[in-house]
Amino acid sequence: MTREGLGPSDLDRVFPFHVAVDRDLRVTQIGRSLAKVLPQLAIGARLFDVCVLDRPREPLTYEVLRDRCQDLCVLSANHHALVLKGQIIVRDDADVLLFLGSPRLTTADELSNLGITIDDFGIHDAIVDFLFLSHAQQSALAEVREMAERLAAQRREVREAHQRITTLYVASRVFADSPSLAIALQVLVPSLAKTLGCTSASAWRQQEDRLICDIVFPERDRIPALRLGMSRGMIAGIFATGEPMWLPTGHNLADGIIPDPQPDSIDPPTIRYSGVLPVVPVCGLPVIDGGRVVGVIAFVAPTTIPRSDDLLYLLGEIATNLTKFTTHLRTTTELAAARDAALASVRAKTEFLANVSHEIRTPLSAVIGLSTVLHGMHLRPPASAVIDDIQTAGRTLLRLVDDLLDESRIDAGKLSIELATFDLVALVRAVASPLQATAALRNLPVAVELAPELRSDLIGDHVRIGQILTNLIGNAVKFTQRGEVRVRVRCVDADATTATLTVAVSDTGIGINADQLERVFEPFTQADGSTTRKFGGAGLGLSITRRLLTLMGGTIAVTSTPGSGSTFTVELRLARAPVDLAPTSATAPGSPNTSRTRTQPALAPAGTPTIAARRRVLVVEDNPLGQRTTRLMIEQLGHDVEVVGDGAAAIEAVRRTSYDLVLMDCHLPVLDGFQATAHIRALPAPTGAIPIVACTASVMIDERRRCFAVGMDDVVIKPLSPAELRRVIESTPPPATHLPATKSLGHVLDLARIEMLRELLDGNRQVALDQMIALFRAHAPEYLASIEIGARSRDLVALRRAAHGLHGMSLNVGASALARACADVERGAATGSLSSIDPILSSYQEVLTAFAALVGTA
C-alpha cells in the first residue's frame, strides 16, 4: 500500500464487502461482511466460480475488469441472493484488482434473507439510509392512499347527507305550501325522484282489489291501464305493512322488456324507461292518512341500488312527515269547519239581535213617544198616572233592549269607545240624581262623595262611563231595602297626562254568596235565579259593565257579605285633556254631553245662547205611528213640521220648500235615507247644505258611520225624547242667521294648520281632527258668551281675557280669520278701547260652517 492508501484492516472496516483478486481472478483478500454472507468466496477461490458479471455484460475476465474499471460493476453470486454493486480499482504495485462494493438492495426484506445487520455495513455506506428512506417513502405513499380513501368516503357521506337534507327540505317545503294531499303528491313525487337520483317515480292508490297509478314522473313513463295486484311486489308490500321498503338487489331485468298485459304476473312491476332500458322499483314509502295506508310512492332507478340504512331512514322520515301533513290537513279542515260554524252562529245571533232591536224599537218608539205626547196634554188622574206607568214600562223595556244590544255588539266586536273631554263631577251627579230620586221614594239615602281632587278635564267615553255608573248605582238601589247606598269617587293617581279614578259603590243590601261572587259578571247571570223574579232585569248589567271596562282598560272588583251588603269597585285610568283645549272654568257647561264626537250636531254649538226661533222641520218617516208621534212632539215644541213618507218625496220637498232641518229616517221605501241624503247633498247651496239629522232605531256603529259618510250632520236614536228633539231642532241655526256659503274654506281656516293637525295627530287622522273640532265646538261658546257679556257690560278686563282665550284656541285649530278678529278686540281692550265684537261673531259662524264641511272629509 502507498502511504495514501488504506491498510488491510482499514479497508475492511470501511469496505466490509470488498474483494481483491489476482490475474487468475483468485481471491487474495476479502472483507468480513462479504466473507460472512458468501463463505464460498474464500481466499484462493476463483471469482468466476462463485460470481458472474452482470455489468458490464461481458465475460468475467481479468482484462474486462481491468479495462472497464471506470464503469459500474455488478457481480451476482451464483445460487445466492447477493448482488454486489461497486467499482474495480487497479493496484499499481501488482497485478491485483480490487473490487469495492456493497450489496445492491431495494427492500428491507432482502436484508433478512442475507442475514446481515447494520454493523455489517461501512459507516459511509448509504445503502441502509436508502432503505430507510425508501421505506419512509412507501409509508408516506400508503398514508396518502389511506387519506385519499378516507376523503373519498367522507365526500360520499357528505354527498349522501346533502341529498338527504335536500330531500327532506324539498318535502318540508311541499308540505308547508300544499293545500291538499293531491297537490302535495303532484309536487312531491317528481321532486323526490330528482333528489333521490331516481329516473322515475310514481304514486299509487288502491281501487277495489287493484293498485292504480295516479302520478307518474316523467309522464312519458306512464303505462296506460297498468294495474297491480295486492298480493305481490314491493308496492303491495308497502300497502300491507305501512313501512318504507328497499328492494333487495338482484332484480336486473334484460333490455327491452315490455310490461306484461297481465301486470299481476310482474314482480316487481316494471316500467319502461325511455323505451329502451327496463328498470325496477328500488324503493317506496307509504302515504298514511287517518291511520290508514291510502297510497304508496315508488321510486325507480336504472339499476338497483344497494340497500342503505340511511336511505331507509330518510324514506321513513318523509313518510312520517307525510303522515303529519295529512293529519295537519285533517285537523285544519276540521278546525276551519268548526270555526266557520261558530262564526256563522255568532253572526246569526248578532243579526238576530239587531233585527229584534229594530223590530222592538220601532213600536217602542211609538209607545214612548205617544205617551209623552199624552203626558203633554195634561190629562187628569188616574189617566195621567196610567200614562206615567206606560212611560216607565216603556223606558224599562227600552233599557233591556239596549242592554241586549250592547252585549251583542261587544260580542261582534262592534262596540267602540269614543273619546272626548268630559266633566266627571257633572257626570256622576247627572247619573246619581234620578236614582237618588227613585231611592228617596223608599226612604233609601244615596250618598255621593266626590273627592275634591277630581278633575273635570278628563278624556273618555262619558256615555259608557255613565252607563257603568247607572248600572252599579241602579243595582245597589234595586237590591237594598234598608240602610243606604254610598258612592265614593276618588282620584288615586294623576300626572300631567293621565288620572286614575276609583269609583266604589257600596250598599247595605242583600249581598252575594261567596260561590256566586265569581259568576255575577257572567252574562245572563244573577246571583240567585229567584232574583230575576223578585227584582227584574236580564242579568246583563254587570256583564256589560265589566266588558265595557275591559274595552276602556279598566277593572271591576266586588266584595260582599250576604245579608250585610256589597261593594263594587271600579278602577279606570283616563287621559287628561291638553291644557289649551280644556275648559277654563272648573265646571263644564250643563250636560256631560258637552263634546261628544259625532253626537254633537254639526250645526250650532250646544250651549250657545239662542232664541228659540220658530223652525221649519221636514220629517222623513214611513211608519205612520212614527210620523204621528214626531209630528205631535215637534208641534208641542212650537215649530212647523211637514212629513213625507220616502226618500224621493224628501228630495222633492227640499227642492220645493226651504227647511231649517231634515229629520231623516234611514230605512225608507223608494229611496232610503242614505240615498236621499246623498241626492240632497249633491244639490246646490243653500238647499244642498241643509242640516240633515239621521233618525234611526238602529244603534249599530256601522250604520252611524254610514250616516256620516253620506253627509248627514248628526244621528239620533229612536225613540226621540222631547228634550232630545228640542236640542236637535233648536241647535239648528235660525233662519235669519243662515250664512251665504260664499266664503271659501281657505278664507276662514288656515288650511296648512289643519293639514298639520292631521299630520300631528297620528293614527286615525280624520277622527283625530274631528275630535279637535269637537273640542273647539264644546269650549268656544263659553269664551263667546264671556266676550258678549264683557262687551255688553263694557268690562274690558273680562273682554280682553276672553278674547285672548278664544284667540289662542282659534289658532290651535287653524281658525285664522277668527283668531285675527279676536286679536283685534284683545288689542283694543288692552289699549282701553272697546272694538266691535261683530267680526268675532260672524267669523265664529263661518268657522262652524267650514268645520261642518271638513268633518267627515278624509
Binding site: T107, A108, D109, L111, S112, I116, T117, I118, D119, I123, A126, V128, D129, F130, L131, F132, L133, H135, A136, Q137, Q138, S139, A140, A142, E143, M147
Partner: protein, 187 residues
C-alpha cells in the same frame, strides 16, 4: 417530533383504552383526533401535551404513560413496516442495543428534521450492559426504560433495568445498567 410518534401514542391509547378515550384526550387539548401525519414534524409540545392529557385521562403518572409507550413503540414500529429494518439492528437485545445509535443515525435521511437521541452501549466485565442515553429533549428517560422492556419482550429475553444516573443535578445524561438473561426461546 414526527407524526409517527404521535400516531404511535394514538395507536397505544386507541388499542388499549378505546377510541372514545383518545377522542377525549384530543378534545381536552383542542386537537383533531385524526390529524397526525406520520411524515410531518410537529412541535414537541404537542407530544408532551398528549402525554399529559393521557396521564390525566387514565389517572396514571406521565412517566408511566411514557414507559408504556416506549414498550409499545417496538411493537408499533414493527407493525408500521419498520419490522424488517428493525431486524437490521440485530437479533438479540444486546445486538439491538449496540446498534440503536446507528439505527437512529440512519433514520435522519428519511426524517430531515429528526433530532435523534444518542445511545452508547458497552458490555462490562461483569457481563452487564452499560447504556448511556443522551437527548436534546428532557423527561423521556421513562420511554427508554419502556423501549428496553419492549425489546426484552420482543426477544423473549428478561432484562433487569437499573436507572443508575438520572439526568439533572450536574448529570448531563441518563445511564442504565442492564442485566440481560438468556433468551427463553429463539425470537
Amino acid at each position: 417530533m414526527y407524526g409517527l410518534v404521535n400516531r404511535g401514542l394514538e395507536d397505544l391509547i386507541r388499542s388499549t383504552y378505546g377510541d372514545a378515550t383518545w377522542s377525549r384526550i384530543c378534545q381536552t387539548r383542542g386537537l383533531d383526533a385524526e390529524s397526525f401525519s406520520t411524515m410531518q414534524a410537529y412541535p414537541d409540545g404537542i407530544t408532551y401535551d398528549l402525554v399529559g392529557a393521557a396521564s390525566a385521562e387514565l389517572g396514571v403518572p406521565a412517566a408511566e404513560v411514557l414507559e408504556r409507550f416506549g414498550a409499545y413503540w417496538v411493537l408499533y414500529t414493527g407493525r408500521q413496516g419498520y419490522g424488517e429494518l428493525f431486524k437490521l439492528a440485530g437479533r438479540s437485545v444486546e445486538e439491538v442495543l449496540g446498534n440503536l445509535d446507528a439505527l437512529h443515525g440512519r433514520v435522519g435521511h428519511s426524517f430531515p428534521a429528526f433530532q435523534p437521541p444518542e445511545f452508547t452501549c458497552t458490555r462490562r466485565p461483569d457481563g452487564t450492559l452499560h447504556l448511556i442515553y443522551r437527548s436534546t429533549r428532557e423527561g423521556l428517560a421513562p420511554m427508554v426504560v419502556g423501549l428496553i422492556r419492549g425489546l426484552g419482550e420482543h426477544f423473549q429475553t428478561p432484562v433487569a433495568i437499573e436507572h443508575t444516573v438520572v439526568r439533572g443535578d450536574g448529570h448531563p445524561h441518563d445511564e442504565f445498567v442492564l442485566r440481560v438473561s438468556t433468551p427463553q426461546s429463539p425470537p
